[in-house]
Amino acid sequence: MRRLLILVCASLSLCCPLSGCVNEMAREALTLQPEALEQRRIQTRRFETTNEHELLTASLEVLQDLGFAVDETEPDLGLIVASKNRDASSTGEMIGAFVIGAASDSRVTYNVEQKIRASVVTKGLGKTGTSVRVTFQRVVWNNLGEISANESLDEPKLYQEFFAKLSKSVFLTAFDI
């Protein structure tokens, strides 16, 4: 239902950009959702160190291990922003697209490329240590150069693996918050 609302709003915003629909979408986007706490839990770990910069540097190394290029850093605020471009095609999807295209005489579309973005934010927690929160999102383009998906990446396993690598890198245990 929510997807439908977004689709309808997106098409309406093309011809009536000042419509209340856009503002309603924006209001929802800027409202804390009930699942925000759970998301924060999945995306955050606490480490028993008060050295925030060391943790930030270790996070940067892990991002490099994962093939990300650093776009922006602001150590005074505990921030790293990084991204990478990767292939987004899958053989199954391409075959499916060609079969449907051949059968219906419509234009064939399949995913070609994606840009994956990550931001890491560290925060001192006083004597109890330092927290690290990482968030991922991606934009996917199809063979016509159109954006076919833009979304947050919420799969918990992704975050578990990131923190496992970070934990190894700093020789410290990552605790849930």
Partner: protein, 139 residues
């Protein structure tokens, strides 16, 4: 379905593209520059710029944004949220007088500026929770 597509196309054709001048300056017939600032700004009773900025960053993360940029000296934070749409937001933090910090947010949804008060009210409500401080309207 066909009628729906035709009506959307008709509205689009009648409206045409806004002049470049209006797009660059985002001129509005309904809101003055001062009104817009009021909608997008709040003051918090604190001297601590860094703490305010870290609260802004935490709030944006809670709202599902991925950060693009932050600068402590300039007091700016930019972030993007992708959820079927692309929302970009810049938040600036600057001290005003003794013990006050002005936080201003401005957002765009895809290619449209967000001008209504309600989205900003929601954002500042979330920021209040993260700051443990009340947000006041800018005098």
């Amino acid at each position: 379905m066909k009628q729906w597509v035709l009506s959307v196309a008709l509205v689009a054709a009648l409206q045409g593209c806004a002049p470049v001048h209006d797009q660059v300056l985002d001129t509005s017939e309904t809101q003055t520059q001062l009104q817009m600032r009021e909608v997008q700004s709040r003051t918090f009773e604190t001297n601590d710029k860094e703490r305010t900025m870290r609260a802004v960053i935490a709030t944006l993360q809670d709202l599902g944004f991925v950060l693009d940029k932050a600068d402590l000296i300039m007091g700016t934070v930019s972030a993007t949220k992708l959820d079927g749409y692309a929302m970009r937001m810049t938040v600036s933090v600057r001290p005003r007088g003794e013990g006050k910090m002005v936080v201003r947010a401005n957002a765009q949804m895809n290619t449209t500026p967000v001008t209504a008060p309600a989205p900003y009210q929601s954002f500042f409500r979330a920021l209040e929770r993260s700051m443990f401080l009340a947000a006041h309207s800018v005098d």
